[in-house]
Symmetry: D2
Subunit: 344 residues, 4 copies
């Protein structure tokens, strides 16, 4: 950490900063320039909270040098973390595709879409039982009966299932039924929830907050890792910007940046990252071209009749086309989509 003193600061101010740094167990190396005094902070590898210093009199800026997360960083673990979920592997050469409806709407339609997706080779079904909705008057999900439907799909079709968990109280319940616990974008900084999934040993799909920075996203992952759960996947799903032509702005830069900073698999959700069905195919291709380790895509047998997110859900036939077009791009970067071989 580098501490820059104000040009108007006094030697007493500087001494007070040095005392504080040393009291916190670090070494301070002051360097008095002609214009400013700058203090280097050296110590062990524990991150220091810059707030402890920033509030001292005479301090102008506090500039961290090391990342504030540790377990999530590639410096700490240079090799990719590999996460296995039933028949699929995240973080390797193959790129799993999670697909399914926004919400689990009922038993029949869920079975139907699962069967269709399986016929395309998809191995992981997504579907929401607990739905965080902006309006209290929108459909809030089926709850536990939705989880039971997912579990039945799992048993019948041998597909893994991923679903969102919204509160620490529901973690245990969801964990009984599903293979991947999803933390939604509105809950990236719901720390109680992160702690709760950190105590399980189930893979977690952690979505970036709508206005979360990459650093905050990795700190959220750190909460889960620090709880002892090493199976965390990071999901870029679009961020909030001033542009209104699309519901979110897909931060494709985040994909290679995350691959450099962390050893965790990086997933992309092109459905939410665009909010528009007609963009999901090109943006899925872009995600894979940029290095994504997995995709999660909304597919609905009849998007026009979907209870939620219909505008961004693909009908099955378009999704089948997408798989082909994306797999070609995957091959062009020496990877491939992780699809089961289907016998006609």
């Amino acid at each position: 950490m580098i501490i820059v003193m104000q040009s108007s600061s006094t030697p007493e101010d500087t001494q007070r900063v040095i005392d504080r740094v040393e009291a916190l167990g670090y070494q301070a190396r002051p360097d008095t320039g002609e214009e400013r005094t700058v203090i280097g902070v050296i110590g062990d590898d524990r991150p220091i909270d810059p707030d402890q210093i920033r509030s001292l009199q005479g301090v102008d800026k506090v500039m961290p040098i090391l990342a504030p997360y540790k377990l999530a960083s590639r410096d700490f673990r240079p090799k990719n973390t590999i996460i296995k979920v039933l028949e699929s592997t995240f973080g390797g050469t193959e790129i799993p595709v999670m697909a399914g409806p926004c919400s689990v709407e009922d038993r029949d339609s869920t079975f139907a879409i699962a069967e269709t997706l399986q016929s395309f080779g998809v191995k992981i079904l997504r579907g929401g039982a607990f739905k965080p909705r902006t309006s209290p008057y929108s459909f809030q999900g089926l709850g536990e009966p939705g989880l039971q439907i997912l579990a039945e799909v799992r048993e019948r079709y041998g597909m893994a299932v991923v679903t969102e968990v919204m509160t620490s109280e529901e973690v245990g319940l969801c964990d009984e039924y599903v293979d991947i616990l999803q933390i939604g974008t509105r809950n990236m900084q719901n720390y109680r929830l992160l702690e709760a999934v950190g105590k399980t040993r189930t893979p977690v799909l952690l979505k970036r907050g709508m206005s979360g920075t990459i650093e905050e996203l990795l700190l959220a992952a750190e909460y889960i890792l620090a709880g002892g759960n090493e199976q965390v996947m990071i999901c870029e799903r679009g961020i909030r910007t001033y542009e209104t032509a699309t519901r979110s702005t897909f931060d494709v830069n985040a994909v290679p940046v995350l691959k450099l900073l962390t050893h965790l698999p990086v997933i992309v959700d092109p459905s939410h990252a665009t909010g528009r069905r007609d963009l999901v195919d090109p943006i899925s291709r872009a995600a894979v071209a940029a290095g994504a380790d997995g995709l999660i895509i909304e597919v609905h047998a009849d998007p026009a009749a979907a209870i939620s997110d219909g505008a961004q859900s693909l009908p099955p036939e378009q999704f089948a086309e997408l798989l082909k077009s994306v797999d070609r791009v995957a091959q062009a970067v020496d990877r491939s989509l992780d699809l089961a071989t289907v016998t006609a």
Copy 2:
């Protein structure tokens, strides 16, 4: 709601939209222009979920005409909601000031700051027992012992207390101890938590999410109101933008906009809205000049020693100056700070 069809849409597309609108219980009034077909939707006052329509084939845009919230809107309740908390009243002419440390650090320091604040006429103490922190390695708050300290302050000094509640499980516990339950910025869309405080009858201070829109903020309030708790205060605390000179950008426009849209009291948190101690005084003045109904400000006996948020906490003597300067502005808009008369 207005539905605009694509220029390439067919009469069948239009009919399908009309059928859907009518199936949802509304009336559709199509208007076929030379360039586009536009369908007006008329019905009762229930908001329609635009997603139900947006996903239909041939639909270009869906433009809501009415606000998606109801109980929170000034159309629904034209007169200001008045919220009483011990000796203070929010939503009237007087402007209460909540002040205190970011975190409850220990019993002695909390009593000391409470006594100092009371000597300035402050009637409501703020202080965090459960702290949402970006890093898992930062101080997370004292928990229930912190709540007990707040309750002791309440009893000894007769001050009301406000504290943040982070998860639905903790609502009951916090509710036993405090007068105002605060929903923090990271939890504006933690719907389980909103539902939980909606079931209490305790005033709620609902903070805007770091990237929450005004509409989403009012929808979050709607969750609480729909649960039966009518005592909701809306708090602008700065939003996330590209500007890095301040930790957040205080959206002062939101103050008069909210006053037009809702009957609920509008509070401002100048400490988080700036992140810098030297800006808290001018920004508090700006907030009151723009129409704020209350302020919540971080004050610490020794900001340099604060465990959290020291950089934005004011020392007591500066806070005393602030109260004077802000009260002058309050008088200039025919209001006044709600401070107890203190006998020297």
Copy 3:
């Protein structure tokens, strides 16, 4: 255009709006609902300035239905505009690559990099003679001598050249020397400059403003098209968001969105869209996978010695690798990079 009246508006307000609409030469169709009066505006295809209506008493919202640009829209011209520049074609199956240093630094280094790039098959050289710099103390470009160097390269190597023009006064001068006139991000809304390049018949590379919306970008193109210059290429180069991990956020969604909205070629600048050399390759792949019609990339013989933008410039050997990796992705979407066949 749809005009929504306030719930508190009077019949007189509505009549005044109708009168205004008719005075402007359009037809008004009022529809008095139970809650709100809504007025549809119908007329010829001239866009109406919503400001003409928004200011009237009793008006709540004005919602445009048609895009405010016309010549740039795909509705107006469904087929791709094809732009030929010497040996290259923009807007077709092949994807031209413009490459070269940020600034033309001197004659020798420019010739050297041109020769290197030509040996890779690159047909268009980029290089700035007039440099818009945030600080008045930074290198501002060589000016006309820089243009002369570009012209010499053009003659000697048969490469086309593209350079930025910063002010209407310099358009004539630049136009003498180069094949493509670039409008930089800071000048997207410099209307005098747009008008000036609109009067030439030279292809224009129009960069999106750092915070320009897609609609504003197309309106800027409309300025050029309205001047009679039909050869406009739209360039996405990253937008300004709250994320600081990269200099800009590459809005990859904009690529397919623009392809749907306009017939003009869509170019991507991965160097500025990331600001980091190590991201240029994956982001170039993503751009092509998403449908980009061209790339413009900063390459420098010795990035560490570059006068400007060294951090995002690629050294030649890395750029050669990029061409191979991107061409593979281009093939995967049934396109190819437009590279000259090079005889060893």
Copy 4:
């Protein structure tokens, strides 16, 4: 400047950075920590372009310590710059108000509004002759005839006039007619234009770009100051964010931040900062409460008939009310609006 090396950098990388720093005429002070090597750069007060270093191999981050502007900084000139314009003084205790229509529409209406404003005590008339418009189909201003009308107003009513200049070619012309040259938000980084007004000795009103940072704004001022024109006023006019409830987000924090960083007067434009007539009064009060040195406000005799910006223009009677309400706030911060005493 502080240079942080990557953890994987070699001693050779470090030496290369040191060599570069010294070649640029500065001293390098390397400090090899256990985890990272950090190099302090010390030298004279010329700002170094971080790009010169960032591109070197092994460099992780370059962190500037000093501001990149000098002439604009309060460190360079601690006392407020005072700018006199006819009867008004910017930067002192009194707060001038510039008011008038968005565009000069014709002679009669301009004379009429000038007379009305003068009767309220306003000393400076605003009015656009050259209008930068997002659409090429919108009214572009009267041009020179508009300037002539302003000059006539000036002569007849003794009011100073301020108008926008859009291109370096028009600077000379505008300078003949008006007292203050305005640089609009779209031109904050139009460097040729900044250079051109830097060569005049006329006061400049420099508006912040819609997505300009405070640092970029001060660097734009630096361009003008470096040209020798010391009379620069900085104008905050709202920034672009994700919030759509208002046209812009007024960054009121910028007012006290700018007052700390620069000696130049800080003006606020509440009309553009909100885009809504009903917010101009409270936001003007907020601006003055936060420390603004001047206001520029759109007023139109009949906003509903305004050719441009009608929705944010105030009718005269509302503006008269605003002057009273804002002056009360000004008094509450020991200042006053700079209004001529009017004899009835």
